[in-house]
Symmetry: C2
Subunit: 523 residues, 2 copies
């Protein structure tokens, strides 16, 4: 058994049985081992999914794990391959997504020749602040792989990177290693529950901020009970990794993206309770505005840190402060189907009216999506995956990975023209794998958010060069042709009726579809 | 004057008057300053060119500098933006291309909040081994920018990265700084010329390896004289940054990509003379094959290191060992226009037959391009830009930047389907800027080079999973639609006649064109 074979069998034994790949020469033994490794002792084989750019691979691994609840592997080609995938790994890091990167490197004895692709893989991987290891010998690969899977799944989850030199991969003497248990979420001490309960009993205005696992059903129900019993106001963190919402679940507002929105939301609050999230900060700095969004004079209390068992902590707290209180759940209620020209206001009602049961929304609609939450609050139960790290180019790959993880669920990718081009080739992977992803591409022919930010940062002059850099209309992009060129059937919608008809049809047919939804900028 | 304004005026004063940009919020003051900075004391303004993905931006900056002979700036958004651009910066590093990256960062006081886009920019930039500096205050920005431009142009050229915090950019008190002279190429000592001349006079077989500036006309003529007078065999390094060739210039063979080719080319050589390049090594390691490609027993001598003045050294050496010898120059000679089905063999003859005078070729044809050099040896004089660092996804952006640098020259981008998707949105930038780039996309519906490498690394089993990962035919990509979707007129060629007709027409019309050239894999 060679190193690559031991790696694949160890990964599959540990439950990592999907690998998103964009390989090169130094990964060819891994590629060959996909066939020759055979099934693992745990009974499975590795499924390999090809991406045509590394940002597709890393974004898909992120989307997969957010839905599957376990890591996928990536297979990338030295430092440049990892670099190309870095932005979506940044988003994954902020989502606390478990990912096992396998980065091929030159053979150990080849590195000193500084061949053209020689690169500082450790520096690039290290920038993610996760777990990084280089396999030193073929006999170590299995143990290193098991350690990587565990490291990725250590609560709350992180990016683990295993660097695999080509000769370590092709050498004989590989040993399959049994799975290593990851570090689980820490229980929250009774004393913390009690002291937080005291805060809630003061009667002073409290904001309860929910993040990470606290955005899932059990925790949401507990948080809603706490809020109903104590008057605390619950909020979801601005960009949750995975938020469960819709009819039958509590409706909890998300903190806004803009500091001004958060100031409004938290106005008058005296205590901020953190449950699986960090203290709120401004996404960017703006001249003369605060970075720390905790209202002046308010106290911050931590119920559960990001690596704590926030779900049990919230349930325990609810039993203490809200015994007998039931959660209030959203009723099934959809917006009317709108009519007329498609706008940034009415397209969300089409989604809200037609969103199917059990949908997964990959949300990268940016400014076009500001009104989405209200329109879908009473739609059938669904998951929303958001842009956790702020690095655009996440949406299409994330939807791709989510659809691999949940082939029986409809995936709806709400995408924007400004964000789509970073990783557009993920559409090809959707076509290749025949994934049930419907992409609604909000095409406003601008980096609309930057038009807004240009004003917000106080850049008073907004001359022709600046405006031209934020304009995507010369030439207009035709996403119907782009999608069709990658094997994804596509249509264009300019009215609400067209969007409704095309969205319904796309959901009814298997495989991927794209709708080029022509909207004016909301800002 | 704010920091951003002082930055732009300092850059333009130093001759850096093109900026390839993919900005975000932290770069909005730089964007605003494009208009408000006004003209520099040197008289110019900054031209900003938008790319829709960072790999487009960095590859375009590389292509620009290879042709312009001076750096462009890039404008990128924090660590994720730099990461997305890393692969093409890796190629630029290997090409010794001068580039000035401007990477926006959070405001200095905002960093401690670890906002979502907080990232380790220094680690990512540092992986390139170039020059990295963070501007600490607005008053420093001008001097930092002047230092960055000089660092980028220090012989032989490198990637310089200036990190610009948002508040340093928007703060008042910016000072324009005069250009700083870069470190020029070192003269080669007389003693080195003499000792190399002695080697050439031994009469033993000598290979003269040319790289960097030695791939330009003056040096090529000198090398050809040396070869003709002494019997030394000259070779161009495998992947030159910029090679001048065609009718009226010496024809000098390139070292092969495969170790076996190089072994054949250097067979029997007793001395390897390095002129502006490094000792030849295998691109990748292969089981049981050597990494060092210098023939056993041969001695390596350095005439000029990569940061030496190799052109003067070669001319001086030619005057010593080849006085009175004239260079032998390629005669104008074109292949016959082929007919019939398009193949990996005959498409190159179409290019050779029709290549216009003064063309710039961005060559990322990979396996499809193996026969190109012979077919174009007698075509009109042209430049060839190659994949210096081996990180695919370079070709379309490189052509884009080259066309910005030389708007009056025809740019021909020989591209491959496997490489195109990494940075396909560079086509949109070509359309927006109306650049004279003709892309011939060799579409063999496979990662053909990896099919070859899968065998070469000794991965004996080649099962269905491995084969599927190297296959790009399910679904076939339609590059005509993809290009049209990005605003570039496109056609498809399946015969040599169609390619000839379409290539001629594309060259005759202004603006970008793409030809989807359907060829079978050569391997």
């Amino acid at each position: 058994m060679n190193g690559a074979q031991s790696l694949i069998r160890t990964l599959v034994d540990a439950g990592v049985d999907v690998c998103f790949a964009n390989p090169g020469t130094s990964e060819m033994h891994f590629v060959a081992a996909l066939d020759s490794a055979g099934a693992s002792d745990a009974g499975g084989e590795m499924r390999a999914v090809l991406g045509l750019a590394e940002g597709v691979v890393t974004g898909a691994a992120d989307g997969y794990a957010r839905i599957a609840g376990k890591p996928a592997a990536t297979l990338l080609h030295l430092g440049p391959g990892l670099g190309n995938g870095l932005a979506n790994l940044h988003n994954a890091r902020r989502a606390h997504t478990p990912i096992v990167n396998v980065i091929g490197d030159h053979a150990t004895y080849h590195k000193r020749y500084d061949a053209p692709l020689e690169s500082d893989i450790e520096a690039v991987a290290g920038s993610l602040g996760g777990w990084v290891r280089r396999s030193a010998s073929t006999a170590d690969v299995g143990a290193d792989a098991a350690a990587a899977v565990a490291a990725a799944q250590d609560a709350p989850g992180r990016v683990a990177t295993l660097i695999l030199p080509a000769d370590v991969s092709w050498g004989e003497g590989g040993k399959v290693c049994a799975p290593v248990p990851p570090r689980v979420a820490k229980p929250v001490p009774e004393t913390t529950i009690k002291s937080v309960a005291e805060v809630l009993r003061t009667g002073e205005p409290v904001a309860l901020l929910l993040g990470g696992a606290a955005c899932r059903e059990r925790a949401l129900r507990a948080a809603n009970r706490i809020a109903n019993a104590t008057g605390a106001k619950p909020f979801i963190e601005t960009f949750p990794s995975r938020l469960e919402r819709g009819a039958g679940l509590p409706t909890i507002e998300r903190l806004g993206y803009l500091a001004e929105q958060v100031a409004y939301q938290l106005d008058g609050v005296r205590h901020v309770l953190l449950a699986g999230t960090r203290s709120p900060v401004s996404f960017f700095a703006y001249p003369g505005k605060a970075s720390d969004l905790v209202p002046e004079g308010a106290q911050v209390h931590t119920l559960a840190d990001v690596d704590d068992d926030v779900t049990s902590a919230l349930e325990h707290l609810a039993d203490v402060v809200a015994p007998g209180t039931e959660p209030v759940l959203a009723e099934a209620r959809r917006p009317e189907l709108p009519t007329g020209e498609l706008t940034a206001q009415n397209w969300v009602d089409v989604i809200g009216a037609l969103l199917p049961e059990g949908a997964i929304i990959s949300d990268e609609a940016v400014t076009s999506g500001l009104l989405l939450p209200a329109a879908t609050a009473g739609s059938p139960r669904h998951d929303v995956l958001t842009l956790t790290g702020g690095a655009i180019g996440q949406g299409i790959p994330l939807a791709t990975g989510a659809a691999i993880a949940a082939p029986d669920r409809p995936v709806v990718n709400l995408e924007s023209d400004g964000s789509a081009l970073y990783t557009i080739s993920a559409l090809w992977t959707q076509a290749r794998e025949n994934l049930n992803v419907t992409t609604v591409l909000l095409n406003n022919r601008a980096y609309a958010i930057l038009r807004m930010e240009l004003q917000r940062v106080g850049a008073e002059t907004s001359g022709p060069k600046a405006n031209q850099l934020l304009d995507l209309s010369t030439p207009d992009m035709d996403f119907v042709r782009i999608a069709e060129g990658m094997g994804v059937p596509a249509t264009r919608a300019s009215t609400a009726e067209e969007l409704a008809e095309q969205f319904s049809r796309a959901l009814a047919e298997p495989g991927p579809h794209l709708i080029d939804a022509m909207v004016p900028p909301i800002v």
